[in-house]
């Protein structure tokens, strides 16, 4: 299977199954409906084989280039069949499990994620540690064959829909900073876990507070050895900024295309449309290079911060066009299309905040890529 073969085969299959794959609910506030639809699309694409390409055989994949994953997500988001934010979680969490979980755990669990049988979340941020991840305080204490976890996480996307969580906990002292962190793979139905969804300004229960009160996690659910959590986190974060962002670029392309077809003549300024198009072009060009580096086996690192900065800027520029060009719809419209534009515009405000704010990305660029030395 090569990329052209994959592309033409998948395109034909998506054409053929379009009516089954397209979402029936268009209420952006109804996350449960989105998640149910996502599960259906993942199950169909997995059972037809498309979702399995680009993943190792030992976790239920069919092997082959990671470009297949990039194209599958591009096709699904570009055709508006899935919402990229929830779809691309797989691209962040499955590679982490493959690289760090016990092989038996990975073999058992990853197929459930790929096939849409389960949703997973990522328990990183805490109320007092957002950007400063190395200071996290959610504590795990070893008790024989188990860890006992007590503490709190926040901004945990999809926690209320998740069966599992990739969780960072403090197993050393606070003074150990990033060296005292361990990563665990936690069942979300464990006794002692309480999830409280938070309603965002775009009207979705996008993320949650998660409380842990003496939650028992077997030691075989550690991702790597004790104290390996920082490595897991540092290797996971580039995945937030690679394939997932390529998918998001395809979605932005589709939204800009729809905006151009929708906006009244004269509602958009040529110079602003041109500037947004050039930003999207540059972002996609950059992300394309990242997909090819990943496919050739390069280990992704701090250079993916460039991709995230470009994505955030492109996304906000495009949705600023929406706010200006479809102002009446965005401000007053209560029809389904207007509600969607409004929700997407508001969500775009988070593009420079989530997944490491643009300031944190610039700190990474300055320290790691420009080699400017420590900043304090």
């Amino acid at each position: 299977m090569d990329l052209d073969e994959f592309r033409s085969g998948l395109d034909a299959w998506l054409d053929e199954h379009h009516d089954e794959l397209v979402a029936t609910s268009h209420d952006p506030g109804d996350l449960a409906a989105d998640m149910a639809h996502l599960s259906k699309v993942k199950r169909m694409t997995f059972d037809a084989g498309w979702m399995r390409w680009g993943w190792p055989e030992r976790v239920g994949g069919l092997g082959g280039s990671t470009l297949f994953r990039a194209y599958l997500g591009e096709a699904l988001t570009g055709r508006g069949l899935v919402e990229p934010g929830v779809y691309s979680m797989t691209e962040v969490l499955a590679p982490t499990m493959i690289d760090h979980a016990h092989p038996d755990v990975a073999a058992e669990m990853v197929p459930k994620l790929l096939r849409g049988e389960e949703t997973w979340c990522q328990g990183f941020s805490e109320p007092d540690t957002g950007s400063n991840l190395g200071a996290l305080a959610c504590r795990a204490v070893r008790d024989g064959d188990v860890w006992r976890v007590t503490g709190q996480k926040v901004w945990t996307s999809l926690a209320q829909h998740s069966q599992r969580c990739v969780l960072l906990v403090r197993t050393g002292t606070t003074e150990d900073a990033h060296r005292g962190i361990t990563a665990l793979f936690v069942d979300m139905d464990s006794p002692g876990i309480v999830v409280r969804p938070i309603v965002t300004m775009h009207g979705r229960e996008e993320f949650c507070e998660v409380f842990f009160d003496d939650v028992v996690v077997p030691v075989e659910r550690m991702l790597g050895p004790e104290g390996n959590g920082w490595t897991v986190a540092m290797e996971l974060l580039p995945f937030e900024r690679s394939t997932a962002l390529w998918h998001r670029g395809a979605y932005l392309h589709e939204r800009l295309d729809t905006l151009l077809a929708t906006a009244e003549p004269g509602a958009l300024s040529a110079s602003e449309v041109g500037a947004a198009w050039a930003k999207l072009f540059a972002f996609r060009a950059r992300s394309r290079m990242t997909q090819h580096r990943m496919a050739s086996g390069d280990k992704l690192g701090p250079e993916t911060s460039v991709d995230k900065i470009l994505l955030g800027t492109a996304e906000q520029t495009i949705f600023d066009l929406v706010a200006d060009g479809l102002a009446e719809d965005v401000v007053l419209g209560d029809d389904a299309e207007s509600v969607r534009w409004r929700s997407e515009f508001l969500y775009s405000r988070a593009a420079t905040i989530y997944g490491g704010s643009s300031e944190i990305q610039r700190n990474i660029v300055a320290r790691r890529l420009l080699d400017l030395g420590a900043d304090r």
């Binding site: 591009e74 500037a275 050039a278 540059a282 470009l310 700190n363």
Partner: protein, 324 residues
């Protein structure tokens, strides 16, 4: 036909050394001829263009190679390509207009035009047909200008009526393709100027001590440099996508991205270098001036951005770009 990876690296290093060693545009033209750069342009255009124009941008060197690149797309030979008259700053139409027997020409001569006997003029008529002809340089009455970047040696051509010894011949290729080739080259050259500006600003930030520490420690400075780094990387990516795609549309986008990002580099690097960067005792001003001129050649970022946007609004759709 192309070069393999090793050949590309060797060629790029050789071209760079050649650009660094040439003291003038004429010397660089001569050295490139000896090196066989034109043969490379035919065999592996991307490597040839990237190597030369990035080195020119980085080292604020110049040559008449832009004319060769644009001319090659129109079937103009190497010898005459170097004397190709380009559209003037802010324009991207053919410099000549074939209306009757009298051809008005308004454009820019590249470095060395005044040392040549023959120039090449590309002209278009009311029917849109594209022609080119060799013209006596004297007939174009070129005026050497100092302008913003006096090191560049550009000459302004503005004549009402040019007659040619040889008849106007139909040009091979299209003007759009020729401009696209030029825009890709200019995007590489702008990228070179940005890299140098970033290098200079970074070195300064690490060396300049204020409040007892290098100013590179201050987040206000670090973030400006990070923005420039992102601008450089985005420009590289856009140029890569333009070569992958090969169409005039993507070449235009690469030039837009390069021109827009060059402004970011100029603004932030000048601010980081502050007082010393405002003087002629530091080299920054050379890159700043060169980058401004390059942005204006074959369509500046502002004009092209509006043009690209107008095309999208007209089409009411966003065409497929950057396939995986």
């Amino acid at each position: 036909m192309t070069m393999d990876r090793d050949e590309q690296e060797l060629f790029t290093a050789t071209v760079r050394a050649t650009v660094a060693g040439a003291g003038s545009a004429a010397a660089l033209d001569a050295a490139l001829a000896e090196l066989g750069w034109v043969d490379a342009l035919e065999v592996d255009p991307r490597t040839a263009v990237a190597a030369l124009f990035e080195a020119q941008g980085e080292l604020t060197a110049t040559s008449s190679a832009l004319g060769v690149v644009v001319g090659a797309a129109l079937g103009v030979g190497v010898e005459d390509g170097g004397g190709l008259v380009l559209p003037t700053i802010g324009h991207d139409d053919p410099p000549g207009r074939t209306e009757g027997s009298c051809v008005p020409v308004r454009g820019l001569g590249l470095p060395g035009l005044l040392d040549r006997s023959r120039a090449t003029v590309v002209a278009t008529g009311a029917d849109g047909a594209l022609h080119s002809a060799p013209v006596d340089v004297a007939a174009l009455a070129p005026t050497l200008v100092a302008g913003l970047d006096s090191d560049l040696g550009l000459a302004v051509v503005d004549v009402e009526c040019v007659s040619t010894a040889e008849p106007w011949a139909a040009a091979e290729g299209t003007w759009d393709e020729a401009v696209a080739a030029g825009r890709r080259a200019l995007a590489h050259e702008l990228l070179g100027t940005m890299r140098t500006m970033l290098r200079l600003a970074r070195e300064h930030a690490l060396e300049r001590i204020q409040f007892g520490q290098p100013i590179a420690r201050f987040q206000a400075v670090r973030h400006k440099l990070a923005e420039v780094y992102v601008a450089v990387e985005a420009t590289e990516a856009a140029i890569d996508a333009a070569w992958q795609d090969g169409t005039p549309a993507s070449a235009t986008l690469a030039k837009v991205v390069a021109g827009t990002n060059a402004r970011i580099a100029r603004t932030h690097c000048q601010q980081v270098l502050a007082g010393i960067g405002f003087t002629t005792e530091h080299d920054l001003h050379r890159s700043i001036k060169r980058s401004l001129v390059l942005d204006g050649l074959l369509g500046d970022a502002r004009t092209l951005t509006t043009k690209v946007g107008a095309e999208l609004l007209e089409a009411r759709t966003a065409p497929a770009i950057t396939p995986l």
